[in-house]
Each structure stands twice: as C-alpha cells, then as structure tokens.
C-alpha cells in the first residue's frame, strides 16, 4: 500500500495557493521571532523551532475541519498557530504569562487549546499517539464523523507506543491520520543509525494501514496527499499514515551545537526551502505579483508584531494560584 504521491502541480486555485504561502510564512516569522526572544531571555526552558518544516503543518492543517482534533509534539508552535490558536496567546504562553494559551503552565513544549481541539504540545516522544487513538475511539463509539490528526517525528517510530498505537488504530479501524514528520534526525541521531528499516511508510503498511509518503518540502504535495487521506479516514476507511519527508533547518533546540550533521547537508536542504520554492513557482506562473508578496509579508509582520505586543503586556498568574488545575475545580465527592 505504500507509494509516493503525485507532486504538487501548483495548478490549483491560485488564491488558495497564496493562502498556503501566507500560512507557511506566518509560521516562519513566528519561529524567527521566538528565536530572537529566546536570545533576549524573554522565553526560557527548551525551545524547538519548526523552521524548514512549515509545509508539513500547513499542508495537513488545511485539510482539517473545525470539529477534527490535532495531537502534536513539543515542536508544535506552527501546528498550534495554523490550527487557529492566536499568535499572541502562543507567545504569551512562552513568556510564562496568564494570558498564554495554558496560563503559563505549559510553555513552549505544552501548548493546548480546547477551542480548536488542539491536544498538545506532548513532550514525551510517541506519548501523543495513544491519545490520538483514544480520541478517535471516542469519535467512533459516538458515531461522530471526525478525524484526529496526530503529528510526530520519525524518532517516535522506535518507541513501543508507536507500534501499540498503530496496531490498535488498525485493529479497531479508528479515524486517525498519523503524520510522521521525517526530518531525518531524532535530536542528533540519524534515522539510519536508529532504525533497521528506514522506510517508515513500510512499517505502517505492516499494520495494514494505508500508508503514503510525500515530499514534505512541497506544501501542495503534502496537502494533496493529506486531503486524500483525510477524505478516506472521514469516509470510514480506517487509519491512514503519511510519511512527510522534511528537514529542520535550525538546531534541534537552542542548546544543540549540531555536531551530528554537515553544514553542506543543511545547505542542500535549504535550497529546497518550502516557502522560497512555492513563492518562485507562483511567480513563475504569474500568480504572485511583487505587490501580492509584499502584502503577505506586511500582513505577517503585523501579526507577529501584535503578538509580541500582546505577550509583552502579559501578566503573571498570582502565586496563590500555583496549585490550581492539579484537580478539577468541581468539588470532589
């Protein structure tokens, strides 16, 4: 059942394609801003940015509806943003302020948002997969036609929870879209140094799950493949698995000296920058004028600037509230 999807043709509706370009740029600029704010010590803890991988989240998110659910990893700022969590609430969370999407209790690695059914922000590799299986089980048992999209890196493939979750989802034919963001490195460990079988889509196929690979640097290819998969999942076709081949341009986290990969390799991948690539394709097709591109950039700049202002104006939760939300505030019996 494995196969490589058709490449994005760029021939779709040009408004929509410009929208995808806009979405990717929103993530890129927010992440660049996060790095700046980290260097300025406004953000602390661990910070993992998604620069280079934007096409994956942008392509998949555009195929989901408001009732669907998303489970993501600790490299999830972009997923949260594209799912609809306001940039200001994301930044305020990283500032540790009560205006953050988790009142400052989660931080960069634990963004959650009930309004958009965004279930984290999971910082245990593969720990989110069983949650996605359960969310989908609830939908199936309740007769709801929803999809749960679960993002994880290729490092998760080595964990037992990956295999347990794929087996359960396939066994019970649950509406889960597994999205493996294969960026080739589990922190500093290359795929070939951690997996005996490096064809990840093949592993999913071993669980009788329809499993497709796509170029994760091409947002149109990701979107097209994801749309086919989401449609199939929603139609009752059981879980589907996407291996999205991508690359992280920046270090794993702000503490990573990148000893494990060559600069030349990074440069080669940066030539495939998903934003540049789509912009150039649109320009070549006469579908993106200078004015259009400037307008997108200005829009994104304004959004990020407003988000920083929102976060800067944030406030600290009173320390007296420290122990709230350990248990629900409905009185226990």
């Amino acid at each position: 059942m494995t196969g490589t999807s058709a490449r994005g043709s760029g021939s779709g509706d040009s408004d929509h394609t410009r929208h995808l370009l806009h979405q990717m740029l929103r993530v890129r600029r927010l992440e660049e801003q996060c790095v700046e704010l980290y260097s300025a010590a406004k953000i602390r803890g661990f910070l993992h940015v998604y620069i280079g991988e934007e096409a994956v989240a942008a392509g998949v998110m555009s195929t989901l509806g408001p009732d669907d659910a998303v489970v993501a990893t600790y490299r999830e700022h972009g997923h949260a943003l594209l799912r609809g969590v306001p940039a200001g609430a994301i930044l305020a969370e990283m500032y540790g302020y009560v205006e953050g999407c988790c009142r400052g209790r989660g931080g960069s690695m634990h963004l959650f948002d009930a309004a958009t059914r965004f279930y984290g922000g999971n910082a245990i590799v593969a720990g989110g997969l069983p949650l996605a299986v359960g969310l989908a089980l609830a939908d199936k048992m309740s007769g709801r036609s929803r999809v749960t999209a679960c993002f994880f890196g290729e490092g998760a493939v080595a964990e037992g929870e990956f295999h347990e979750s794929l087996n359960l989802a396939a066994l019970w034919q649950l509406p889960v879209l597994f999205c493996c963001e294969n960026n080739l490195y589990a922190m500093g460990t290359a795929l070939a140094r951690s997996e005996s079988q490096t064809d990840i889509a093949l592993k999913a196929a071993g669980y009788e799950i329809a499993s497709w690979s796509a170029d994760g640097m091409d947002v149109l290819a990701v979107e097209e493949t994801a749309r086919r998969a989401v449609d199939a999942v929603r139609a009752g076709g059981g879980p589907h698995f996407l291996e999205l081949r991508t690359y992280r341009f920046r270090a794993h986290s702000m503490f990573d000296p990148e000893r494990y990969r060559e600069k030349a390799e990074v440069s080669r991948w940066m030539e495939r920058d998903p934003i540049d690539k789509l912009r150039k394709a649109l320009e070549a097709a006469g579908q993106l004028s200078d004015k259009d591109w400037k307008s997108i950039q200005q829009d994104v700049e304004a959004e990020v600037k407003a988000a920083v202002e929102f976060a800067e104006a944030g406030t600290l939760e009173p320390v007296e509230d420290l122990t709230r939300f350990v248990y629900s505030e409905r009185s226990p019996q």
Binding site: R105, G127, P130, L135, A138, E164
Partner: protein, 326 residues
C-alpha cells in the same frame, strides 16, 4: 444479600454500563475470556464487544487510548491485569493522565478510571505480587482508591466515574473471594474519607486494602489481651484523609501503620511523617510500622508468608507500642 468482593465489583461495572452509555470497559481478556480474575465474567455476552473491549497486550497503548477516549467525552474503565503490568503504562499514567489538566491551564481534564489488582499472598512470585499503589499515591493529579470491603467494591466505581479527574482503583488479589452480606440497595459511596472499621481507644492500627482483614484479625487477638485497638481503613491513599488519621491518633495516642508495600520510601513512611509532624504531642509512643520485607516477593509459600505483614507481626508491633506507655 450474600455476595463476594468479585461479584460486588462486577455489579458495580454492570451498573455503570447501564447508567451511562459513555461508560465502557477495556483491557486484556476482559471480554471473551471473562476477565483474568473473572471480575467481568458474563459482561461480554451482556454488553457486547464494543463496550467490553478486549485489547492486545499493550498497556501503554490502551491506557493512553483510555485517556484519549476520556478527553473525547467517554467514561472509560480501563482494567490492567496487575499493578506490575501497569509499569508498562507509567508514561501514560504519570506523564499524561496526571498532568494534562495542569499543563493545559485547566482546559483538559481526564475523567478516566483505571482498575488493577495488587498485592501478594497467592504464590505468584516477584512479577505479579507487588504493592505499588503507594508509588502512585506520590503523584499529584491522581486519586488512589483501595476498596477493602464489599461496600467499597460495590460503591467506589460509580463515584470514581463521576470524578472529572483520573482515578486508580487497586483491588487486592486476595479479596476477590471474600464473601459476606451486602445490602440489597448498596450503591455509590464517597471516595474521599477514611473509615473506622473497629472503634477502640488504646491504639490506632492504620491500614488499607488487602491487609484490612489481617489487621482486623490482629485487633481481635489484641482484644483478648485487653488491648482495645481502633482499626482505620484509609480507603483513599491520595488525597489522604488527614482529619480521620489525626483524629484517631488524638484519641488513642498510639499508632501502628500496616502496609503491604515495602517500608522504604512508602505510603507508610508518609503516614508516619504526617502523624509525627501534626500530632507529635498527642503521641505516647513512636509510630510503628509493619510492612513487607524488602525483597522481591518470593514464590515459596513459607518465604512469601515470612515477607508479608501477618496478624502475629501486627500484634507484636501493637504490644510494643502499648508497652512503651511512659
């Protein structure tokens, strides 16, 4: 009516399945096999494979799926065969179930109930016999229940299902065959208080779960010696009912904690510390403890018995505490 702990637990599950269509039972061999300890025997036939859901041997996967299903609006009861196997699901229980509400700033509560057997006494060796509920009681965000009576076996589950947060229920393996009378209208009970199972004024014997019958036996022996022991059944290991614990000690001025877990770093250590911190000047003797010997539980009957809290050891500890009267 005459019943057993096992039947009372089954009645509780059946009742929950009938009362709330969001409730389902999921775990290894809960369905076609009838439950590894026959707790769910017959429910598969009665409620079908969707609601009595057999799982593969993947504790982390199906416990995590229970958490996800709870987030998705269901009220899952997840059964894990034994507490030892629950260690394979520690990631989901500790990193997810216990933390999601807090990490999400109050947005996502996890109304999940997990049941599992615990404890020794059945010659099952070191990978099926441990009492690790005290470990779980260390974790903020979880509620830890240890039903020791027919009433609690029948009544704790429904209240746990109404709790918006994760609840772990530990069923001691030696209790399943305990038989007795249960009121025909027995129903939900509270899951926040300790209960005095035998009032007394000379010493507080504080215990929970599978050792409650052993402690009651010890108390009966002590009564023959003119020592009137109060037996306090904790029922809930997290949050602990401090008022009941300290109230009993304030009355008796002596306490022995009986815990089938190991002594070091245990719930018995926590109880001893709380009594010492909060009731030091009420005490007429040091707080005593009777725990399991610090060995992986052995198979051979005589060695297993030697490792566990017995009525004889409890009586000896109580006598020592009473003899220390100054």
């Amino acid at each position: 009516m005459k019943t057993t702990y096992r039947e009372a637990m089954r009645a509780a599950i059946r009742d929950a399945l009938q009362r709330d269509e969001r409730v389902f039972l999921m775990g290894e061999d809960v369905g076609a096999y009838g439950g590894c300890f026959a707790v769910s025997l017959g429910l598969f036939e009665e409620f079908g494979p969707e609601r009595i859901r057999d799982t593969p041997l993947s504790e982390s996967g199906f416990v995590g799926a229970g958490i996800g299903a709870a987030l998705g609006g269901m009220r899952p009861i997840v059964e894990i065969m034994t507490v030892n196997f629950s260690l394979l699901a520690l990631d989901q229980l500790v990193n997810n179930a216990a933390t999601l509400l807090h990490m999400s700033g109050g947005q996502f509560n996890v109304p999940l109930v997990v049941r599992m057997t615990t404890g020794a006494g059945r010659q099952l060796g070191a990978q099926h016999s441990h009492s690790l509920e005290g470990w779980y009681a260390h974790i903020p965000g979880l509620r830890i229940l240890t039903p020791a009576t027919l009433e609690d076996a029948r009544g704790m589950l429904w209240t746990a299902l109404e709790d918006p947060d994760p609840v772990l229920i530990f069923e001691h393996g030696t209790l399943y065959n305990v038989a007795g009378d249960l009121a025909d209208d027995a129903g939900p009970v509270d899951i926040s208080t300790a209960a005095v199972r035998r009032p007394g004024q000379d010493i507080s014997l504080i215990t929970y779960g599978g050792t409650l019958p052993v402690v009651l036996d010890a108390a009966a022996q002590l009564a023959g010696d003119g020592i009137n022991a109060e037996v306090l059944d904790l029922r809930v290991l997290r949050p602990l009912d401090d008022a009941a614990i300290l109230g009993s000690v304030a009355k008796t001025h002596r306490a022995v904690v009986v815990d089938e877990g190991w002594r070091s770093g245990s719930i018995s250590a926590e109880l001893s510390a709380r009594i010492t911190e909060n009731a030091f000047f009420d005490l007429d003797a040091p707080v005593g403890r009777v725990c399991s010997a610090e060995v992986p539980l052995p198979y051979a009957k005589h060695l297993e018995l030697a490792a566990l809290p017995t009525a004889e050891r409890i009586v000896a500890a109580a006598r020592e505490a009473v003899g220390a009267r100054g």
